[in-house]
């Protein structure tokens, strides 16, 4: 597994679990883009697409690059998650009922409460002159908003985090795939059991929340079945509790390490919405998404065979110089930014309007109160692969 250069210049093998790569993947992305139209992942040497052009082609052609794959080993699921692991046209019918609940106006309605919560969290540590950003801000802030949206009890947050982490980052030796799969399947059972109870409860006692909506919504002339609702809730739990946390951490790690960039935002807070987009492009916290080939396809001069698992490296596409002029420069005033950090095509992130609202509000509230800060000297970053969460990000400032 030892590999000095990443990616290997000869084989194009990219080590996606190398800690240096997970912390700062952009130089490796640039080397992949320059040298390997189809690189290979260190895991099973499965092919990696990285060019913007190839990546959006894959995302927009689900009839070739399908999302319908057996992910029980990685997700603990008994059935596909809805709508993420279903292809159009069936996927589109589910998106129609879900998009209504994740529209921009609905997400904006959550903003005042989210800002109040951000201020409370900052109140809790501002005078201490330091915090561990992940546990004290990046985890609790978006998770509380998500639980409000879903209608799940706030006091059970630790349980939901345990369930989510049990799937995404099971607490076993990372090289022990058998133990990881067992842990995930046990955790999956607990997730199904929790939501089975919640569905029965909302059927008996309707509330103004997501689970109740799913029990009552008209789906092409019929109600959703309990299994369909479970498969939606499973996805919302994993997606809703992890990605904004990861994006907040990556954004703040960048701003803490680049004071001249941070000071631009402090001096001109009206740049923050655009800076959020640029940080999403640069950091691409959900760096890689999988697809499985439904037919043979040729990318460049490489033929990929039906049935193959293909890694779509969103992070590399987002620094492709063919799409982004001066791609390796982080420019908060970049005007043309068609980044695909929320994906592209039919599976565009359902929560993107929620994420954007949360990221802008969080960065605005933070920098009003704590404009100058840095990563604690000597601290070693710990960034998880795949979904790049800053699992340990101690920040310090003058109190």
């Amino acid at each position: 597994m030892e590999q000095k250069e990443n990616p290997c210049p000869h084989t194009g093998v990219l080590n996606i679990i190398d800690p240096e790569y997970t912390a700062h993947p952009q130089p490796a992305y640039a080397r992949v883009l320059a040298n390997h139209r189809v690189a290979k992942s260190i895991a099973m040497h499965s092919p990696i697409l990285s060019r913007y052009e190839d990546v959006v082609f894959a995302l927009r052609h689900p009839e070739i690059f399908s999302s319908e794959m057996d992910m029980q080993v990685l997700l603990g699921t008994k059935r596909p998650m809805i709508p993420q692991q279903i292809d159009p046209p069936r996927q589109t019918r589910y998106r129609k009922i879900l998009d209504l609940r994740f529209s921009r106006p609905r997400m904006q309605a959550l903003e005042p409460e989210l800002r109040r919560h951000a201020q409370q969290l900052i109140d809790g540590f501002v005078e201490r002159g330091e915090c561990e950003f992940d546990q004290e801000f990046a985890v609790p802030l978006p998770c509380a908003a998500f639980l409000t949206l879903m209608g799940l009890p706030q006091e059970e947050l630790d349980l939901f985090l345990e369930l989510k982490n049990g799937i995404i980052r099971p607490p076993v030796d990372p090289m022990d795939m058998i133990a990881a799969t067992e842990f995930r399947m046990k955790t999956g059972e607990r997730i199904y059991a929790y939501f089975e109870k919640a569905i029965a409860d909302r059927r008996a006692r309707p509330q103004d929340d997501m689970v109740t909506y799913l029990t009552t919504v008209d789906f092409d002339g019929r109600p959703l079945s309990d299994e369909e609702i479970l498969d939606i809730c499973y996805l919302l739990l994993l997606g809703g509790l992890d990605t904004v946390t990861a994006t907040l951490g990556c954004s703040m790690a960048y701003l803490a390490s680049n004071p001249e960039q941070r000071r631009k935002l402090v001096a001109k807070p009206e740049l923050i919405p655009n800076a959020v987009e640029e940080l999403l492009r640069w950091e691409t916290p959900v760096s890689l998404v999988p697809r499985v080939l439904k037919q043979n396809v040729t990318i460049g001069d490489v033929e990929l065979r039906e049935g193959a698992l293909v890694n779509i490296l969103l992070g590399a596409a987002n620094v492709d110089p063919a799409e982004f002029p001066d791609a390796m420069n982080v420019d908060f005033e970049r005007e043309n930014n068609r980044h695909i950090s929320f994906g592209a095509g039919a599976h565009r992130c359902l929560g993107s309007h929620l994420a954007r609202m949360e990221l802008r509000a969080a960065l605005e509230e933070w920098h009003k109160r704590i404009p100058e800060y840095q990563i604690k000297p000597g601290a070693v970053p710990n960034v998880s692969p795949g979904i790049r969460e800053q699992l340990y990000l101690p920040l310090v400032w003058s109190a």
Binding site: V56, R60, R95, K96, D99, L100, F102, S103, R104, P273, E335, N336, N337, R338, H339, I340, F342, A344, G345, A346, R348, S352, H353
Partner: protein, 66 residues
């Protein structure tokens, strides 16, 4: 002389960049997909409309000078 906007509805998946960057030109339906508010863009909103089109990850918006 003016700029007109055309939307390819089949490409739009509701990223919402257009109605955030040029709210005078683009609106949203209840699913969050793009709607065209004004087909002929007034000169004062031309720059915003151009930026909105250039930020659509689906390349769903075309501008034409007529």
């Amino acid at each position: 002389m003016g700029v007109t906007v055309k939307l390819d509805h089949a490409k739009c998946v509701g990223h919402g960049r257009c109605y955030e960057l040029a709210p005078e030109v683009f609106g949203e339906d209840e699913r969050g997909h793009c709607t065209i508010l004004v087909e002929c863009v007034p000169p004062e909103h031309e720059k915003a409309a151009l930026i909105a089109a250039a930020n659509c990850p689906e390349d769903a918006i075309k501008l034409a000078r007529s």
